[in-house]
Amino acid sequence: MNSTESTDVLVIGTGFGGAVAAYHLAAGGAKVVMLERGPWVRSEEFEHDFLLGSSYTRIFDFVVGDGMSLLGGNCVGGGSVVYFAAMPRAPKFVFDRQGSIGRRMWPSSISRDTLEPWYDRVSEALPVSMSDWNQVTYAGGLFAAACNHSGRTANPVPVAIDVDRCTNCNWMMSGCRFDAKRSLLLNYLPAAVACGAEIRPLHEVQRLSRTDRGYRVHYSTVDAEDYRILHDEGVIDAKIVIMAAGAGATPVILQRSAAALGGMPDAVGRYFSGNGERLNTAIVDEDRARELFGLDRGDGRAYEANQIGKGPCVASWDDLDASLPEYSRFSLEQLYFPPGFGTILAQVPGAAAPSWFGREKKEIVGKWQSWLTTFTMSEDDNEGVFGPPPPTGNAHRISQQMLGRGTISYEPTANTRHGWEISDAAVKAVMERDGLAKVMPWTNDVVGAYTVHPLASCRIGDDPATSALDDRHELRGHPGIFVTDGSAVPGALTVNPALTIAALAERAMPGIVQAAKDRGVSVKYGAPSPLGEIAGRRGTLPLVSDLAVR
């Protein structure tokens, strides 16, 4: 006999997909181990600091591919620690999208209506609430005023933020020092740990292989300071494996596992979507902002507030119109990015050349406080494809933290480019009207298109040829392996995806619990919300038996 470690359920990744799964399985009685490649950072360790090696670089990853760059979380809590906590539900038409395959890409069993009770569960757990105008930042206010001025509506965005705790520091991407942002560190993860789940940070899963009774998970431990350095290797056997490493890593681990597991679905590492994302930077004319909208901060300044805020506060949903053709629907959202990411790719409006570096660029950086960023989420064409996996991890790491070179290639189709072009034109129409601002889209020439919401690299669907997972999130041909992160979402959502990722994970849980039971694990489904509420559970109860039956 060997002494290989074993568990009932091994969860890879601690973001929304992993945390939701770990909580339900541990609460139901299963032995759960979670492996997370990033560090476990406590609230008091979330720094307000741009220094390389501060929490700003420790907890997220920027992976540059060919034509597409991905920005995501790399820590216990995953994307929820670095996100801006905007939590809208996806519009109904999204679930009827056909995308690049010419027929409905979502499973027939999932629609906005059938997902609604699962959205409710997550919204209760974090919790998510509507914002009001008193909580909207100066940047959100200016964007709303500009929308209104051009005949548009504008909505305060539903968020998972405790507004009483929020200091509007605008360091949200470095993790929330004040526990105002409802990351998974405040709900699902502590509840999972309280139920016995074990979280092991700095454990990077490299591949899976098969055992007689399930799967063997092969990991390396990662140096706490320099992620380029891997230390020990180890294995854990599990009856059920839940992959939730994120849309930029889950398919890579599966690709690397193909030799041992065999027969990987063709859709693993294909159909990647960047959620059709795009940024436009407007440089606001302060005098016009005052004249047009009567803006006044109370100290004589009209706007000059780029540093102040809490991420996206206001969105414009006028183009989320189900009657419009696919690839022409998009949302616009006011956003803040800190300097570095928020300034490097900004281009000088009207510049000849160069537009993103040089003399004129330096001049617009001097007007940084008057910048307003608009974020587009449109319908792309799922055109991203992952190449052969690197030896370890999901990218070749360049910097000790944060920066790596990945294997994704993304060549935008005419459909995707059309969505970007019409949304760029909409932003221009809103922000340049009556001389309010000058706008120029970020350039894709430097590091390709980029996404902060990578999706669909291992997606659910009814068609085995174009989906890696069935509608219960089980990897086709590999019973007992489930994928519950953003890679399972079939395509772009036209809004921020965190709530949809989490709702899909919640929906997958009755089936995953049943799969564990089928393998002899003593586990029950039916946990309340992580803080004990049961209203959400009452709402989903009638759906559970259907989802548990195979």
Binding site: V136, N155, N168, G298, Q307, P339, A353, D445
Partner: protein, 188 residues
């Protein structure tokens, strides 16, 4: 590491000239050659671009010798193409005019250039030095009057080194909600 001080100086001057092309600044002295003096106020070099590029954590340090050689090779070729005679006492890229440096760097950074990725890396870190002083604690950089943070008007923190903005909202309704907004505050 370069083998001797002359090589080291040559590398530093070349990298400074590159960083100064990304975010230009004023000369440190009248005979400054690396910084072209194309902009008033301090630029990427004064902001710490070389310190950041040479920080092992950034991951580019092993490439700097090679990039310096290649960049000077491109500069020599460009000068030959233009029929320009370069000052032989300084590295060829440093000897180019600011406009010539800008055009050459623009070619190297353009989509399709075979070395683009390396030059983008150099440009991103040059830019990051100016925008965020990533080689320093932000509190220290602000206290020291870091030129990039000063240029953006980045606000000072509270006494405990953390940022808070008690005034953050106009507290006004500026637009009508989308008519199909659901009870959860989401699009329908």
């Amino acid at each position: 590491m370069p083998p001797d001080n002359a090589e080291r100086r040559r590398r530093t001057m070349t990298l400074e000239a590159f960083a100064d092309t990304i975010i230009p600044g004023e000369k440190r002295s009248p005979d400054d050659r690396a910084i072209a003096g194309a902009s008033t106020g301090q630029g990427a070099v004064a902001a710490g671009a070389i310190e950041l590029l040479e920080t092992p954590a950034a991951g580019l340090v092993d490439l700097l010798d090679g990039l310096t050689t290649v960049l000077n090779g491109h500069a020599t070729a460009r000068a030959a193409r233009l029929g320009t005679t370069l000052d032989s006492g300084i590295p060829p890229f440093v000897a180019l005019s600011f406009d010539d440096r800008t055009e050459l760097v623009g070619e190297l950074l353009a989509p399709g250039h075979p070395e683009k990725e390396a030059w983008v890396g150099l440009a991103l870190f040059s830019n990051m030095a100016f925008d965020t002083a990533a080689h320093m604690h932000t509190v220290d950089a602000l206290a020291a009057g870091h030129p990039g943070l000063a240029a953006t008007g980045f606000a000072p923190p509270d006494a405990d080194g953390l940022w808070r903005f008690p005034a953050y909202s106009y507290r006004r309704k500026f637009a009508e909600l989308h008519p199909h907004t659901t009870a959860s505050g989401s699009p329908a």
